[in-house]
């Protein structure tokens, strides 16, 4: 365990000092055009604290070699540290066994792994796959590719005007042809938190496995895959203050063992001859080639960092930011918040009457404010609300109320420019 995190924990127990936590993030000291950076694009990628940066430097300067191969010192250290990171992730999501945690390049890679490993083996012509309107393109396109290849069918769960899934409609979609469910835990475009436990239970009553895209949930909600009883769960490190290029796929061991490999290569084999290859056991079966070792170890450090603060504490603080921002933006004439679900993470998608999101984003940038503008890789959500795009402010635990104020002032500037 990183000693810095231990001291952090004792600090937190004696009361939260979010300013002090914010100081862990060197990038937040940046100035953009002489204005302090107001980083409100955390749903796209969050920033990295010094503790994780230090961990990456320590690995790269004292521990790096390829893993699972050589007998020399560095290879053994790197192999051990990589395995430790896997165990950290296992604990973080409360998986039964470490071999149920596969390192992937990220959420998209994980979903493609399940599509190829499970879908291509078990989904047949005429079968149906249930997805929702809220899905990110990464949980739509792989299944469309599979449906086209197999002659399977995609069924889509609608949402209401608040951006909440219509769970009754979801339940009506099930029939004897339903073979898989892909479900986003938290909408990246709107922040809606979906009632996944109820939906997983319903799918299981029909014997249907469920994959949860947790990319937007893991940074804000404590995940317990055993309590959820989901079959697959996936998220990326870079949305949890970790590095890009790594994520995990959790899968129930029995399912992972029944699946076919996704990528062939080194490390995923037990033995190779030109006549026959015997695949390695899980998780190695799904980790062909040299994995992102440094990034995975950085991922472990990021999870340690967040765990020391406590995901519940993070969620509670962020919800105060959400409430404040919602109140402030609702008070500005001409601003419309898209996505008003009762259960939300700290994401606000909004439009301003008569002003295109790209113009909003460019003018906010002038004040050092970083928001995302566009369709957020969720075009079906945009179509549902009949908007081409939105602006999205997404908050992290290192944001503060004065940054909400800066956003409000920025929006008023935008409106003034286009008066």
């Amino acid at each position: 365990m990183n000693p810095v995190n231990v001291s952090l924990k004792s600090e937190i127990s004696s009361g939260f000092d979010w300013e002090k936590i914010r100081a862990d993030f060197p990038i937040l000291k940046l100035k953009i055009d002489n204005k302090p950076l107001v980083f409100l694009d955390n749903a796209a990628s969050s920033q990295m604290p010094q503790q994780v940066i230090d961990r990456l430097v320590r690995y790269q300067t004292t521990q790096h070699a390829n893993i699972n191969r050589a007998v020399h010192y560095l290879s053994e250290v790197a192999t051990l540290e990589y395995h430790r990171a896997r165990c950290t992730l296992q604990q973080f999501i409360n998986a039964r066994e470490d071999r149920e945690v596969i390192f992937t390049s990220g959420t998209t890679d994980s979903i493609n792994l399940v599509m190829h490993g499970y879908g291509r083996k078990f989904i047949k012509a005429g079968d149906e796959i249930i997805l929702t309107t809220l899905e990110h393109h990464s949980n739509i396109v792989p299944w469309q590719m599979l449906a086209t290849e197999k002659g399977a069918k995609i069924r889509v769960v609608p949402i209401n005007d608040k951006g909440e899934l219509e769970v009754d409609e979801y339940e009506k979609l099930f029939n004897e042809r339903t073979k898989f469910v892909g479900l986003i835990h938290v909408s990246n475009a709107l922040g809606t938190i979906n009632p996944i436990k109820r939906m997983i239970d319903f799918a299981h009553q029909h014997g249907v496995p469920v994959l949860i895209d947790g990319a937007q949930a893991a940074p804000h909600i404590a995940i317990d895959v055993q309590a959820l009883d989901c079959d697959f769960y996936t998220f990326s490190a870079h949305k949890l203050c970790g590095p890009t290029g790594v994520g995990i796929l959790y899968g129930k061991a029995a399912l992972l063992e029944a699946m076919q490999p996704f990528k062939g290569g080194g490390d995923m084999i037990a033995s190779v001859t030109f006549e026959k290859t015997i695949y390695n056991t899980i998780p190695h079966k799904f980790e062909a080639g040299t994995p992102p070792i440094a990034a995975a170890i950085g991922f472990g450090a990021a999870v340690d960092y967040l765990t020391a603060i406590g995901i519940e504490n993070i969620a509670a603080y962020e919800s105060t930011l959400l409430d404040y921002a919602t109140e402030c933006l609702n008070a500005i004439p001409g601003v419309r918040i898209i996505g008003t679900a009762a259960e939300k993470t700290a994401v606000i998608s909004f439009t301003i009457d008569g002003i295109h999101p790209h113009d909003i984003g460019t003018i906010l940038n002038q004040d050092g404010i970083a928001v995302r503008t566009g369709h957020h890789c969720a075009q079906p959500v945009m179509q549902r609300f009949n908007v081409p795009a939105t602006s999205r402010a997404s908050f992290a635990f290192y944001n503060k109320k004065t940054e909400v104020d800066a956003l409000v002032a920025g929006i008023k500037t935008v409106q003034k420019v286009f008066l």
Binding site: T362, N365, Q366
Partner: protein
Amino acid sequence: MHTNSLYQEVILDHNRKPRNYGKLDCASHHAVGHNPLCGDRLDITLQLQNDQIDNIAFQGESCAICKASASMMTAAVKGKSRLDAETLIHEFRELATGKLDVNHPHHLGRLTVFSGIRDLPTRVKCAILPWHTLHAALNSIASASTEANNDPVQTVVPDNS
């Protein structure tokens, strides 16, 4: 880059009151421009007679930069020959991607208000979309896109001069 220099009054004015907005009933040439990244769509209709653009109109959903660019473009090419329009298209793309030396002779006139766009790579496509669509219309290509092979940042318009 100071965004103020991009959102100048002339651009805001054309955004507020776009010129040549609408659709020609009897167009000889027509193209639809699309930027899939932001969902912008632009419809250009024009009447070409004896290789001269007698009339031109545009309509669509887009940001202020795109709409102002389209408005100023239609005003600039109306009455011009196809060849002169292609020259303007070429020069505007060079301007937007920072390749045009404005100190050398060019034909852009007030269109140089878009020079600031070169500092905002993500917005270059917004300014170029109308020009790209006009090029497609003049060359009887039904639809234009800012993506793939048509990426304006990478594609060079054939030099007609």
